[in-house]
């Protein structure tokens, strides 16, 4: 398997084992003992046995070198845009904006046109797709170096359906990492996620089912928030979403294929506003070449309650 192009800001953690693993991308199953390891000492969380409660991480709690580099590059870009606005003449500035917009549009189109599309009637879309129930399923992810899901749990009703979706597709494999994204103040979704993870750890103890964590990001707009301060909170929320998308899971940083877990493979959302923000941010990261093209694939599952309109139409 050819190594995928990593952006140059990825910093390898300080583990001697990893240096040998950089050049190879063999698709063999990682040793189970490595996957459940507590984080290396330079992280802020204390050592935990793998069966403890999933760690709840507030966004921006710890700045590892990757985050620092990413945000400083973003800051440089924004500041230079501001500088250009202040110093250049209007014609030059307009030309600059036109070039940037053209670039963004070109990137957006090239990403969406090269999306792998499922073939209609393909057997993974139906629940009993194979001809004989005893034949092995076609698609097996157990031999991959990493399988990383990001589940967005928005408000109440959406979270309950998301938990059901997770249960319908759950498979126990040690090379898996599940990350749940919640908004601050949403205790119902947090308890739902904790309950699901407890169920998984009782069914599959000692990290046979992979690792997990929970990240909380702030809401883009609180209820009854005045519109004047909304752009600022949206930006803060987007920044925290970037962190949620790019933060390497603590349990994986010390493992041999840890860098495969840098970005989620699949983002699953079913319609809450948090989902929209995170997916928009993910798309922008792909457009800006921050994240390689074979990551951050997004799935939008419309809630069954919407028989006529779409969730995304609500505010």
């Amino acid at each position: 398997m050819a190594p995928h192009k990593l952006p140059k800001v990825v910093e390898k953690p300080t583990s001697p084992d990893l240096a040998s693993a950089v050049s190879e991308n063999h698709a063999h199953e990682t040793h189970p003992a490595e996957n459940g390891l507590p984080p290396s000492p330079n992280k802020s969380q204390p050592d935990q046995p793998p069966d403890a409660e999933p760690e709840i991480i507030e966004a921006f709690d710890v700045f590892d070198s990757y985050t620092i580099k990413l945000f400083s590059s973003l800051a440089i870009v924004i500041l230079s845009l501001l500088l250009a606005f202040l110093t250049l003449s209007w014609s030059w500035f307009t030309a600059l904006i036109a070039v940037l917009s053209g670039f963004i549009i070109f990137r957006h189109l090239s990403i969406t046109w090269t999306h792998p599309k499922p073939r209609p009637g393909a057997d993974f879309l139906s629940r009993t797709g194979t001809h004989s129930p005893t034949a092995p399923r076609l698609l097996s992810t157990t031999a991959l170096p990493a399988v990383y899901f990001l589940y967005i749990l928005g408000s109440g009703g959406h979270s309950a359906e998301m938990i059901e979706t997770i249960k319908q597709q759950f498979q126990s494999q040690p090379n898996q990492h599940r990350r749940y994204v919640l908004s601050t103040g949403d205790t119902a979704s947090q308890s739902m996620a904790a309950r699901l993870e407890a169920q998984i750890s009782t069914a599959f103890p000692d990290a046979r089912a992979g690792t997990r964590d929970i990240i909380r990001i702030r809401r883009a707009r609180a209820v009854h928030q005045p519109l004047l301060s909304t752009p600022l909170t949206c930006l803060l929320s987007a920044g925290q979403a970037v962190h949620a998308l790019t933060r390497l899971p603590a349990a994986r940083s010390a493992t041999r294929h840890g860098y495969q877990f840098q970005y989620p493979h699949v983002i699953v959302t079913n319609g809450p506003a948090t989902g929209f923000v995170v997916c928009l941010v993910a798309h922008l990261l792909k457009i800006m070449y921050v994240v390689p093209q074979n990551r951050l694939r997004m799935v939008y599952i419309e809630t069954w309650a919407r028989s006529r309109t779409l969730s995304a139409c609500e505010d």
């Binding site: 076609l138 319908q168 069954w304």
Partner: protein, 290 residues
């Protein structure tokens, strides 16, 4: 006559008014139920309520407002005497209410009700619960233990899903104060698909009757005890869309697996072609149904 609670309706039409003994704090429950769907019998089954063993089976109504917004209109309606009379006519004895933020208001209004106003219905209320599953399962039919009750809920999709999963009779009442209309759409869809009854504010007694009819139609009065679905889902039932999406992140691996599948199907076809050379009918039959 003593009959089990299966097959409601047919075996209670002897017209005899039975007053089960052992009822102390409940007022006389009329057995002239308009719908004849409630068997009364005197066997000594134990049920899990705090009722004496010789009493009739319990039938509970659970009202849930939801965890987000208040729904005072519904709360006001369920303590109307007409509604409580309708409940008691249909054989209900307990009314559990999850009030949400309006709990103090509800308590204030119910503690002044006396026995004649409540028609013998015991009203219990609380603000929130972490364990809505237990309250809903108490409305689920269990032969010999309790009859199919009723769950009256706001039209939240999560609550509706749970009620349908536990197979309890459901009445959906959309909250008209919520701006978005999707609650009403959802309630209409549930009614159309016969999953639940669309309850309109002001016509709740009618909704209760319709719900009891739906119980008979859907066979919700003869259920095995509830068992949660297996987790993890068996492999043949699992949704594999997400696996495919992860595999598209590793195109070589996806290509390899598709190639293997093609090889496997080619091998199977080859074996089927090879088999019929000079064999009898038995093997030919095996080929067809293999």
């Amino acid at each position: 006559m003593s009959s089990s609670s299966r097959g409601l309706g047919q075996n209670t039409r002897d017209g005899i008014k039975r007053i089960p003994d052992g009822e102390d704090d409940k007022s006389h429950i009329s057995s002239q139920a308009r719908d004849n769907k409630r068997p009364k019998h005197q066997d000594s089954t134990n049920d899990d309520d705090d009722m004496t063993p010789a009493a009739t089976l319990s039938r509970r109504c659970f009202v849930t407002i939801g965890a987000t917004a208040g729904f005072r209109q519904l709360l006001a309606e369920i303590i109307q005497p007409e509604f409580l009379k309708c409940l008691s006519d249909h054989g209900f004895d307990v009314l559990d209410v999850q009030c949400g933020p309006d709990h103090p208001w509800f308590e204030e209004h119910t503690k002044t009700l006396d026995n004649t106003q409540t028609h013998g219905i015991q009203i219990r209320s609380f603000e929130y619960t972490k364990n809505i599953q237990d309250h809903m399962l108490a409305c689920r039919n269990q032969p010999g233990v309790r009859q199919a009750g009723c769950v009256i809920s706001h039209a939240g999709s999560g609550t509706i899903l749970e009620a349908l999963r536990y197979e309890v009779p459901l009445v959906v009442v959309p909250n008209p104060t919520l701006m978005d209309n999707h609650q009403a759409e959802l309630a209409e869809e549930c009614e159309a698909q016969k999953w639940a009854v669309y309850g309109r504010l002001g016509k709740l007694p009618d909704a209760i009757s319709r719900s009891q009819e739906l119980v008979v139609q859907s066979g919700l009065n003869d259920l095995a005890p509830y068992s949660p679905p297996p987790f993890p889902v068996p492999e043949s039932e699992r949704v594999t869309l997400f696996d495919w999406m992860v595999l598209t992140c590793y195109p070589e691996e996806l290509a390899k697996q598709q190639h293997l599948r093609d090889l496997r199907s080619v091998t199977e076809n080859f074996q089927h072609e090879q088999a019929p050379a000079g064999h009898g009918i038995k093997d030919h039959g095996k080929l067809i149904f293999d």
